[in-house]
Amino acid sequence: MSTDFKLPDLGEGIHEAQVIQVLIKEGDRVASDQPLMEVETDKAAVEIPSPQAGVIQKVHVAAGQTVNVGAALVTFADNGRSVATAPVAAAVAQTAVIAQPPPPVAEARTAVAAPMPPARTGQPAKVAASPAIRRQARENNIDLQSINGSGPGGRVTHEDLERVLAGGSAATPASVPASRPESGGAASTSLPLPDVGELPDFTKWGKVRREPIPQIRKTIANQMVRSEAVNVHVMHHDLADIEMLEQLRKDHNARKTEGDPKLTLLPFIIKAIFAAMKRYPKFNCSFDHLQNEIVYKEYFNFGIAVDTPRGLVVPVIRDIDRKSIRDLARELTALGEKARKASFTIDELRGGSFTITNIGSLGGIVSTPIINYPEVAILGLGKADYKAVVREGKVVARYMLPLNLSFDHRVIDGADAARFTGEIMGYLEVPGRLLLED
């Protein structure tokens, strides 16, 4: 009987490893403890020695490939039986049957030349699940990515998996072929799009027109799906009383001289966010789940969501910590011009650390902004308007600005969001406080 040697858990709770080098080939006779391959995990690069003496009947992996723990690395032939007969035809036949076969060795060589994506670059958004759940899913050929986890942060729970095993519908059952190999490097590096199947045939109900999706739309869609898949969105809503700020703004605009920029609310809001961010730097961070680190940015570049004729773009205003309210006003005016022509360079759209979306300029009070991944928060502004509010026991009309803060609950808690929003509101309600900032 031939035996498989499977990738063990080489660290403490690692899930996968990348093959750096395969040191043997099919047909080789190896001694016990002879090095078979070098692999690299999240923790270390290590050599894997052979667990037994014998002849290598099959090598299942190639350099560059990412292999899950538990996936077969090599198969040993029957003790003593020659594998010279292991027919090439059989291997080919297998290729035809298996949807995504592990690359045969010859193919693997070429795969090295065309470099595989390194294990760490990507988007992966691994599904959260305990090792026991992962194992159970693996044993039942269920792709965890296809399950909508009901646990915190989309964690796949035992119940979720049971539901799928029972053929339930609450979670999308795995549509992956049962023969999908365990060593699916591709599965862990591509975006986890739920496989919803093809659209229905709409022509049954009437005439339709199909148009290719423009590139900008594809970019927006990808960015939105990525954010929805990775960030755990929670929205915090509040109303800021901006009566005093509005007075200040109007006063400036009435008395401004030639060359002085007209002030809108936005520069004040940007300054207020920055001031609040100094106390709550988490809102200017990224969550690096691969390195297990929170990346705090010491730069303050705010993306401003802008509606252009071609669609949404998010140009970035840089170094807002070093700019005055007037500077920001000028820059925002210039941004508006560019937006009309939709003439942003790629560089102008990169490097943001926080985003503001001012949907209120078109109307609306509450919105649920999608975080601009890999940022962790976005502030949506509703339409500022007079509202009836109670002040000192009397109903009065005050000029109110709705604030809609979406944040990534992986790194920010509800209490943080409430405090951060409260801080911003403090600056907007008593704009003089901005004078006291360094």
């Binding site: 063990p8 858990d9 403490e12 020695p49």
Partner: protein, 366 residues
């Protein structure tokens, strides 16, 4: 109220007897007969062979994470050598050779690192505590055991070993202090292997030596070449005798080097250079002891070879015993906390067994 200088007379000794070339300082050389020397050598070889095999087994998925001890053979065999059967040992996690010397079964070491409770069950007649995995949690236990011995007036001694990183733990300093205050018969051995995982010794303490920390607690500290098994034996024997006489504790700093990773989940290339490791390879505790044995005519190449082969066979037999008795019983995890299960735990155990049975039957279907 003048400001004046207190004259504290304190020094720290440093000792090495056998140099890297196997040259011995005959004035300091302990009087050990050939049989004893070979017994010490064999224990060191066994420590290394087991360590090498375990690293391979871990990479093959046959045992879990463990902490390799290559390079620290002389330290552990040296400090365990003077300990009598009735003495107590409170071990850390990087000295399987010392454990086996004390009477632990080889397969227990493997069971322990594969997550089996049986690997932590001290064999009958062995006065050792189980291995302490948390850093620096156990020297305080040794201090307590020592204080108990003192109260009971027994002539026993307790020895505890820990790493350089432990010396920054509050509990360890409390242990140093209590042992000193009560003049307890404790031997503290700091296996200074230069790294606390990735943190180098220089960042662990501003002090020039770890040994000198004992001075603040009112007793002697001594720095020893931890790769020199003869020096380790001499220093530990002195400390054990002193403790047995009722003259209190000693802190021994065994200056050594961890040749491998901290544990199998660590990659030392990320924090130290290959050149540094190569320098320490030259200081190998086994090589210098082999030269010494041959110079002393206690052994020839052939005898050393035979000992090696004998050790390989012993380790192999131990591995086979381990793999035979290593049958996972997941419900065992309920068995070792209470003599009688609480109703909640009883319910959890039943639920757990039901889940296992359900899974087994599903696996059979598939």
């Amino acid at each position: 109220m003048p400001r004046r200088k207190l004259k504290l007379q304190h020094e720290v000794e440093e000792l090495s007897i056998l140099d890297v070339d196997g040259q011995v300082d005959t004035a300091l050389e302990p009087a050990l007969n050939h049989d004893e020397l070979l017994r010490i050598y064999r224990a060191m070889v066994l420590t290394r062979e087991l360590d090498d095999r375990m690293l391979k087994m871990q990479r093959q998925g046959r045992i879990g994470t463990f902490a390799p001890c290559r390079g620290q053979e002389a330290t552990q065999i040296g400090y365990i050598y003077p300990m009598q059967k009735e003495d107590w040992v409170v071990p850390s996690y990087r000295a399987p050779g010392a454990q086996i010397w004390r009477g632990w079964h080889l397969e227990q070491i493997l069971l322990f690192w594969n997550g089996y409770e049986e690997g932590a069950r001290t064999p009958e007649g062995v006065n050792d505590l189980p291995v302490a995995i948390p850093v620096g949690s156990h020297p305080i236990l040794a201090a307590g055991i020592g204080m108990g011995m003192k109260l009971q007036g027994t002539k026993q001694v307790v020895l505890t070993a820990f790493g350089d990183g432990s010396t920054s733990e509050g509990d360890v300093l409390e242990a140093f202090n209590f042992a000193g205050v009560y003049q307890a018969p404790v031997v503290f051995v700091c296996e200074n292997n230069q790294y606390a995982i990735s943190l180098p010794r220089a960042k662990q303490t501003r002090a020039e030596t770890i040994a000198q920390k004992a001075l603040a607690f009112g007793y002697d500290g001594i720095k020893v070449d931890g790769n020199d098994v003869l020096a380790m034996i001499v220093v530990t024997t002195e400390a054990v005798n002193k403790a047995r006489r009722g003259d209190g504790p000693t802190l021994i700093e065994a200056f050594t080097y961890r040749m491998q990773m901290h544990t199998t989940a660590d990659d030392p290339k990320k924090y130290r250079s290959d050149e540094e490791v190569k320098e320490w390879e030259k200081k190998c505790p086994l090589l210098r002891f082999e030269k010494y044995l041959i110079n002393k005519k206690a052994a020839d190449e052939k005898l050393l070879q035979e000992i090696h082969q004998d050790v390989i066979d012993e380790v192999q037999a131990g591995l086979e015993r381990f793999e035979k008795c290593c049958v996972p019983q997941p419900d065992k995890l309920f068995d070792y906390t209470y003599a009688q299960l609480t109703p909640e735990l009883q319910a959890q155990k039943e639920e757990f067994l039901a889940i296992l049975a359900q899974r087994d039957s599903r696996n059979r279907k598939h």
